[in-house]
Amino acid sequence: MTNPDPISVFRTEAAELLEQIESGLLDLTRSLDDRDRIDAVFRGLHTLKGSGAMFGFDALAAFTHHCETAFDRVRKGDVPATHELVSAVLSAQDHMRALLETPNGDHDAMSAALLDGLHRAVNGAGSPVPAAVAAAPVAEAAGGLSEWRIRFSLPVNAMANGTNPLGLLDEMRDLGECRIVADTAKVPELSALEPRDIHISWDVTLKTERPRADIEDVFIFVMDDMELEITEVAVEHPAAEAKPAVTPIAKAVVVAERDAPAVQAANDSKQAKSAENVRVPAERLDEMMDRVGELVIAQSRLTQLAGTATDLGLRSVSEEIERLSGELRDTMMVLRMMPVASLFSRFRRLVHDLSRETGKEIELITEGESTEVDKTVIDRLADPLVHLVRNSIDHGLEKPEERIAAGKGAKGRVILSAHQTGGEVIITIKDDGRGINRERVRAKAEASGIIQPGATLSDQDLLQLIFQPGFSTAQAVTNLSGRGVGMDVVKKTVEALRGTIDIASKPGEGSVVALRIPLTLAIIEGLLVRVGQGCYVIPLSAVEECLELSLEDDLRSRGRSFISLRDSLVPFLRLRELFRTGTPPDPYQKVVVISTGSERVGLVVDQIIGDHQTVIKSMSKLHHDVDTFSGATILGDGSVALILDVTHLVAAGQQQEAQLRAAG
């Protein structure tokens, strides 16, 4: 296997670093004097600058240097952390992404504008320095001249992560008179060396008036994972000039705090945990998923062949392979799953920015962040969710004065939550704003020609109009929404994921948009059925039960298309008629009852063949607009079976029911 491209690895790591910096900045907005957060942001910026320079991203390194300097001043207590400064660095951080993605682009004007903003934020910060920040550097006041013995080895990946050991040694020299001796005893032979790792350690003797904290500060970026021993060997008190120049301290070994056993154990555990994780490019997972899909199809063919064979050995092997391929498929599915936390985390920044832009006070609450979804779903849902959250904030939430007048708290609330039910994950965006104005929605839809004036619509249909192309109720086009594009794209994206959108809204109380998305897009458990001569797959997660429909019942129900199911009427669709098979019905047809949420519909089929591991293949462009099917799959005998689009069929069944009820 070839080594990964270091530039590509750097880009990935820098992107993660930027996320950490962003998260730290957002945390800081809640507690501006949190020294740990300030240090963490500073460390992140420093590492980004260092590794950027190392990998040739000079513009990124130079730009980041300014932000790092600003945070260094905050860290040292020279300037306070303010909301203005945090916002300026957040904006600068977006620019760092651009410098990372297109290092050779023309970024000068933007860099200059952002640095100007940063400069103003730093120098305009006239408020008093937060006590915790100001006090820290003073806590260990400089004493007399001391001699220190510092022995250290850096984290093995320090150089690869952008730390320049020579820079650390230079910083040490800046502290005072220094003798530095490198120890190469642990450097392995060339063939065993990973040359980006570092195996050199150092033994330093330093005479300085600076306190121990200043020595520790040299290692602030690598402190967590390194081995560091700082020993005060001798001390000279400036006031006591009559005393001997150097007073030996009886083996007063001062070991850095991080070497305490408990902390060390935690570090060991952290290192072990990090060693257990392997970074794999997403496309390799996709390739592997394709291979597993092909394996499942081949296994299905084998099962079919073995089923007709008399060879017991072949049957046994076939069953074993079926079991193994099922396990492999399940493992593969788990590998592709990611917690929605990775999706939700980006909304903290969005809400922070929107709050500043709109002047609205907003509280973002996230729930169910550990819910896991297929990686592709996460990737594709990002933009739709951004649009929905923007919409909630821009259209839904009121200005503080409006909210207070309406008897609500000044701060609006947006709740982003996820939970799993069966084979679906439901992601909801809920706000406590003014709710959707139905009159305005209707008026706008009529004016845009989306519906006829005075058209009869259910409440849900009326609300769903906001997802129609070209629909917008915003009276002014804002930076956030109101361009009349987006909500229809949201719907298309969700439907492309085989998902649905439900919407509910109460005037004055807020709105809830719920996205129901299948957990996976690659392989599903399906129920294989026959209708006429063709085979079809119904996603098993949607199947509630199967019933027999005798010829008599079938005849009796003609014209009504309802079955009675435990005292409730369920509409059903005859797939033979829907697909125009032109074949006579089997004497004992079956009804497969499927559901999405609370809506149910029965599908009349000729035969239920059984469960089937369904590798989903997308439909050809020619068939892309056929609503009834969401995809296709290849069966064991090589023939193609179409996968029924449950959402569409349930909606069709419900529509049929509504028409029949209306007709009396």
Partner: protein, 108 residues
């Protein structure tokens, strides 16, 4: 004074000897060392060098010595290489063997 012998195979190294290129430099030296037990590294005075290269050369010396071979420098460390040795703490407390290798100083 040169420490090389006429039988030593000389390897001219590229101008960038930093962490950016260190993997390919390792391959180059390793390949050369596998073919020749005694090698001389020819490092341009203007070459860009960082600590990863000093570590690499140290590892190469260890490997050669373990196999009764040797690694030498074509000329005493200068330019960036000397700077890294100095800043990295390789000159303070340098052993006679190391001083002979890096700076071509006579062993006493």
């Amino acid at each position: 004074m040169s420490s090389t012998l006429s039988g030593d195979a000389s390897l001219t190294l590229p101008a960038t000897l930093t962490i950016k290129t260190i993997l390919s430099v390792q391959e180059l030296i390793l390949d050369f060392l596998n073919k020749n037990p005694a090698i001389v590294l020819d490092i341009d005075e203007a070459a860009q060098v960082d600590l990863s290269f000093v570590q690499l050369v140290t590892a190469a010396r260890k490997q050669a010595e373990a196999r009764a071979g040797r690694v030498l420098l074509a000329r005493p460390a200068s330019g960036d290489l000397y700077d890294v040795l100095e800043r990295g703490g390789f000159l303070d407390g340098m052993t006679p063997g190391a001083a002979h290798f890096w700076l071509h100083q006579e062993k006493n």
